[in-house]
């Protein structure tokens, strides 16, 4: 039985926590800022050891963590949790989503410390300023902001449909209003794939 919190953090990252222990531990994490920050730090360490990511490319860090969670449903809203098959099932992806977001936030805020070789610090900010907090936290499964952001527009078919509608809108909206150029600019910009 694991009694050490550090061991539990490690087990969580290694996907070795049993369902019953997972539920309780994740609940603890939501109430313990210090443990959450440690989790973010360990996740980054783990990532670095496994894949040697370029720490200068912050987006890759979170993307890689996120990619590992691609196959698991992400809970966007609390009410969605009620639809899960079991409590253990949704708690795990919820924790995973929190990991990805927390790792990214941590990486962005502390990148300079790593690069300067100052090592790890126990002082992690609870609130982190990142360039695009709203989009980053709300689009955990989306790689780039030039794609439509929506829980319902993630399929390629719907995106294609929206882009088609956008083009048609641009043709006719330019007839009146100040947005004459903006719709066309939008098409040139948003239609390109990364």
């Amino acid at each position: 039985m694991m009694t050490d919190k550090t061991d539990k953090l490690s087990a969580l990252l290694d996907d070795e926590l049993e369902t019953g222990g997972l539920q309780a531990f994740v609940k603890q994490l939501t109430e313990d800022d210090e443990q959450r920050n440690k989790l973010a730090r360990y996740a980054l360490i783990s990532e670095t050891i496994k894949n040697k990511p370029s720490v200068t490319d912050v987006s890759l860090i979170a993307d890689r963590v996120r990619a590992e969670l691609e196959n698991e449903p992400v809970v966007f809203a609390p009410r969605a949790q009620k639809k899960a098959r079991s409590a253990g099932h949704w708690l795990k992806p919820a924790a995973g989503a929190a990991i990805a977001a927390t790792v990214a936030m941590f990486a962005v805020s502390n990148l300079s410390r790593f690069n300067a070789g100052s090592g790890f610090s126990d002082e992690f900010p609870v609130t982190v300023d990142i360039a695009r907090p709203v989009h980053y936290n709300q689009s955990l499964m989306r790689p780039a902001s030039t794609q439509w952001t929506s829980a319902n527009a993630r399929s390629q078919e719907i995106e294609k449909d929206l882009n088609h509608l956008l083009r048609q809108h641009s043709e006719f909206s330019s007839q009146s209003g100040m947005q004459g150029m903006l719709p066309y600019t939008t098409i040139v910009v948003y239609d390109r794939k990364h």
């Binding site: 902001s145 030039t146 439509w148 527009a153 809108h169 006719f172 007839q175 939008t186 040139v188």
Partner: protein, 320 residues
Amino acid sequence: MKYFFILLTLLSPFAQATDDHALFWLERMVKAVGETNYDGVFVYSHDGMMETLRIVHTVDEDGEKERIFSLNGEPREIIRDNQSITYILPDEKAISTSKQPAGNKHFSGFFTLEPKRLQTNYRIILSGSGRVADRMAKVIIFQPKDHYRYGYKLHLDDEYALPLQWDMFDEDDYLISSIMFTRLDVGRDIKDSGPLMPAKTPAIVEKVTAVSSPVVPERTGNWVFRRIPDGFKLENFIEKIQPESKNRIEHYVFGDGIASFSIYVEKTPRSKLAGEAHVGALNAYGLYHSGYQVTSVGEVPSKTLQMAVSDMRLATSVPQ
């Protein structure tokens, strides 16, 4: 939004300039964008990202022509003239061409507007001077009179009255998007030298013909929208067949003089977009209503799109 404009008003020495003066400059702008040759590079900022594009606008004995060309990533170009709009999108290995919407006597790349009409929905304020692309400019504020549209700030070139910068703000004074010129050349020696992107043969050539007609009062589509926000009026209605699905789709365009949004109604057996979607300054909202997919798209707040489609009915005695 009110806080931004209050602050701007307090800081600007010309804040209380009359709307007439601002309208005078806007009318100069409308004339300039349609009759002037210009070639410029501008930056489009949104979502913390920046894209660079180039625009070339010419007017000669062959008519008016404009090209917008991306300077980032894969080259992409849109060409407009009095008859057609051509999209050259190499990502999709396609060229698509549409006819210019009928009634487009003056498509003007940048801005086409009715200054008098704008006053219904915006308070227009001439608010001092600025400098953009190393050119002195007049600053005009468009303060929305409600929360169903965004606010704008426009910089107009002192010499030619061409727009140099165009900022869009939401109701919390958050800058949503910005178009800003970094270089602008003006004059008769600006010529249309042909496509700006490297010549390449697309693998697939697609020609799409859009059949459209200006709104005729007695023909406004099969649907009635009972909760269109004040200030927006139906400006265009188009009916067409979707090339892929072969479904009939009705396209309604609403505008308030600056902003616009479209509502698409398509008979389809299954739902597509449900709820909100966003990309940069654009919002979309979808719902499935009685066997029809309804999607609204535009440069307006999401609440505007939701409200517009929240109460829609089939017009009576219209064949389905």
